[in-house]
């Protein structure tokens, strides 16, 4: 029996202005977002390749390894086509330098605030905002609209159970939504192939899961639409309620959750940590000096009042031991400071992690942010992106530093050696460095396995939302007043 409904629902949808308008809009937008995403990715890729090339070129002009400025660049990943995530917010590269630590600088948005004004139109955005709206538009009057049209009574004047009706209704609407979705994703996939984006099998796999979770996502809104429609008598009211739900879950909860987590679990800034460490080390140093002073006073106590010669003798005898002693004290102090600062940074790291955990867990009350998180994790443009690159770059820095010291290190710049009244600048060795010797930066691996593992929980959450909404819709309809 439900097949009759399915058929009717499809026919009804396909003939309505609503269907035509919404599916045209969503197909156009999704295709557009694919195109823009690909264009953006390719621009970034060529920028990346160009920059790396130029870096190598300038470095190869150098005659001294110390003078070569080496950068590690963040490599664009094809998954960015679908989810830009925090990609444009964090720096694109870091200088690899003996002196300074890793710092990702020059974010795309920072470089070009124009892009930050309205941000990108990526696929995950379109899905998150537009498809959910479409889903609501499809189902806001699924039940109460039939009542308003008087057809609900006519239907139930027949030998039909409520379960059959609602199942047919859901399935019909779902298929009607799925059609433009599949069409537009196929167009997108064709664009990807036609425009020559190099996607590995793993990328396609991640893309498939992305598409799957997009389906889960809009299905969820569709079910919520039916649910609300089965709770209300008038379709104008159900639409209002759904619109508010949509605003809250798509626009408000994600933002509010991160901000509330930021307030509830404030994390000190790096500068604050540094100032703490600085004041700790000043204190440690004063303590150190005080204890040294005391030590000196004690050391010379045995020779107090004796002649200069005896004193010198005493010093000479003990010098080695004292030096050892002093070294030990200094080392313990240094160690203490190092430990303190390591602890502070670890604390910061942990605090940031738990802040993030809180923020993201709070935000997951909204299917929209659950979807966004899935998308970002699949795309590898989640908050972990920065950390992954920083870690990889830190490793690379170690490698590079070792390499430099093998090359006969020392600090960069111009080395002057002065000997017997004639000076030479020794840095100006005529031979150019061979850039091929340099270790290569390898991007952090973020494979399909990791991506899928990371997003699995949120995909499950989306599925759970679906089940809840389905049960809600079902139960609400069982209690629906048919008159």
């Amino acid at each position: 029996m439900w097949r009759i409904f399915l058929e009717k629902e499809l026919k009804d949808s396909l003939q309505s202005a609503r269907f035509v308008v919404t599916s045209l809009v969503s197909i156009a937008l999704i295709a557009l977002s694919f195109y823009l995403g690909i264009a953006h990715y390719q621009a970034r890729l060529s920028q990346y390749e160009q920059s790396q090339q130029m870096m190598l070129e300038t470095a190869s002009q150098q005659t001294n390894w110390m003078a070569a400025s080496v950068f590690a660049f963040r490599k664009p990943d094809p998954m960015e086509v679908f989810v830009n995530g925090i990609n444009s917010d964090i720096g694109r590269y870091s200088e690899i330098n003996q002196m300074r630590g890793i710092k990702l600088v020059r974010s795309e948005f920072g470089d070009d605030p124009m892009l930050a004004v309205f941000q990108f139109l990526d696929l995950s955005f379109v899905v998150q905002i537009v498809l959910s709206l479409m889903a609501i538009l499809f189902t806001y009057n699924a039940i109460n609209g039939e009542k308003e049209g008087g057809t609900l009574k006519l239907i139930f004047a027949n030998q039909i159970s409520k379960a059959e009706f609602i199942l047919g209704k859901l399935l019909g609407n779902w298929v009607a939504l799925l059609v433009p979705f599949i069409i537009s994703f196929l167009i997108g996939a064709m664009l990807i192939i036609a425009m020559g984006v190099e996607m590995s099998a793993a990328h396609w796999g991640r893309f498939a899961i992305f598409a799957f979770s997009a389906v889960l996502y809009f299905t969820c809104f569709m079910l919520i639409g039916v649910f609300v429609s089965a709770l209300t008598k008038r379709s104008s009211l159900s639409f209002l309620i759904l619109l508010v739900c949509w605003i809250v879950s798509v626009l408000i909860i994600p933002k509010a959750a991160t901000m509330l987590a930021g307030q509830a679990m404030p994390v000190p800034s790096a500068d604050e940590i540094e100032s703490r460490i600085a004041s700790f080390s000043t204190q440690a140093r004063t303590e150190f000096f005080a204890s040294m002073n005391k030590l000196f006073a004690e050391r010379f106590r045995p020779v107090e009042g004796q002649s200069q010669e005896q004193r010198d003798q005493f010093v000479r005898e003990n010098q080695e031991r004292w030096q050892q002693e002093e070294k030990e004290i200094r080392e313990t102090m240094d160690k203490k400071i190092a430990e303190y600062s390591a602890r502070q940074y670890e604390d910061l790291y942990n605090q940031k992690n738990s802040q993030e955990l809180l923020a993201l867990s709070l935000s997951k009350f909204s299917p929209a942010s659950a979807f966004q998180l899935v998308a970002m994790k699949l795309g590898g443009t989640d908050t972990g992106l920065k950390r992954r690159y920083e870690d990889a770059m830190k490793d690379y820095r170690k490698q590079y530093t070792n390499f430099l010291s093998d090359k006969g290190g020392g600090h960069g710049g111009i080395r002057l050696s002065v000997s017997n009244g004639r000076g030479t600048v020794s840095a100006a060795e005529p031979k150019k460095i061979n850039i091929a010797e340099m270790p290569k930066f390898s991007d952090p691996v973020y494979g399909a396995g990791e991506a899928i593992n990371a997003s699995l929980f949120d995909v499950g959450l989306l599925a759970l939302f679906n089940i809840l909404a389905f049960v809600g819709a079902f139960v609400a309809f069982l209690h629906y007043d048919l008159r």
Binding site: G149, L154, F156, A157, N158, Q159, I160, R483
Partner: protein, 244 residues
């Protein structure tokens, strides 16, 4: 034994959640080949009674039976034998008249109907030919009413329940409707309809039930009405001039 009633109400009572007593121990029966008109003013309880017959609301007391099946006990079984025209007929605006009819026909278990069958049904209720394949969007109230009527008759069920079927019909259409109804009666259908239209009721009804404030004040057969002025009778009942 007397022939079984296809539609029967025994002591139907409905008290709404807010305490309104919309039906107060109403009993009547409609036999095959009988047209039963529920006559009553606005708010008399006609739609309430009909809603109970279709299982949309449970009765507070009493039993409503269709084809001898208690609608409240076994709604799905009972609904096999009834077709219905509701008081608000909007239907699906995006479907054509035929598509609407097709959908409901199949819901009613008629799977093998052809386009011609639908056209015949639409013709029978007097819808103009050119509207058959037009979307319901542009239909007037009466045209929609006719499609609704076609839906009610195409199921060919033994019981037909119509809630104010003639409201919004033009005189010609009303006349055609009357003919259709008489045809249905001749086929042996039991027809229960509510109406405000005293004159038409008098013309076609085999039995008239006069209702007011949830009570069935009187049930008169055609024979009993033959020599009476139904309008006067109705007003008298409503104003309580005649004891029930």
């Amino acid at each position: 034994m007397e022939q079984h009633a296809t539609i029967s109400a025994e002591g139907l009572t409905k008290i709404y959640e807010d305490g309104v007593c919309a039906l107060d121990h109403v009993s009547f029966a409609v036999k095959p080949g009988e047209i039963f008109c529920l006559l009553g003013g606005n708010g008399a309880g006609k739609t309430t009674a009909i809603n109970i017959f279709l299982g949309f609301i449970p009765p507070s007391q009493g039993v409503a039976k269709i084809h001898n099946v208690d609608i409240h006990r076994d709604p799905l079984e009972a609904k096999k034998y009834v077709s219905y025209l509701s008081d608000v007929v909007m239907l699906y605006p995006n479907f054509t008249a035929r598509q609407n009819l097709d959908f409901f026909a199949r819901l009613g278990g008629k799977h093998a109907l052809t386009r011609d069958d639908y056209y015949t049904a639409l013709r029978r209720v007097g819808l103009q030919e050119k509207a058959f394949e037009q979307k319901l969007k542009g239909f007037s109230k009466g045209m929609r009413q006719k499609v609704g009527l076609a839906i009610a008759i195409i199921k060919e069920s033994p019981a037909i329940i119509l809630d104010e079927p003639t409201s919004g019909l033009d005189p010609k259409a009303a006349n055609e409707f009357q003919t259709t109804l008489l045809g249905l009666r001749a086929q042996g259908k039991a027809i229960l309809m509510s109406t405000h239209d005293i004159f038409r009721a008098k013309e076609i009804a085999d039995t008239v039930g006069i209702m007011n404030e949830g009570k069935m004040l009187a049930i008169k057969s055609r024979k009993e009405l033959e020599h009476e002025d139904l309008e006067q009778l109705y007003l008298n009942y409503i104003h309580g001039k005649v004891a029930a």
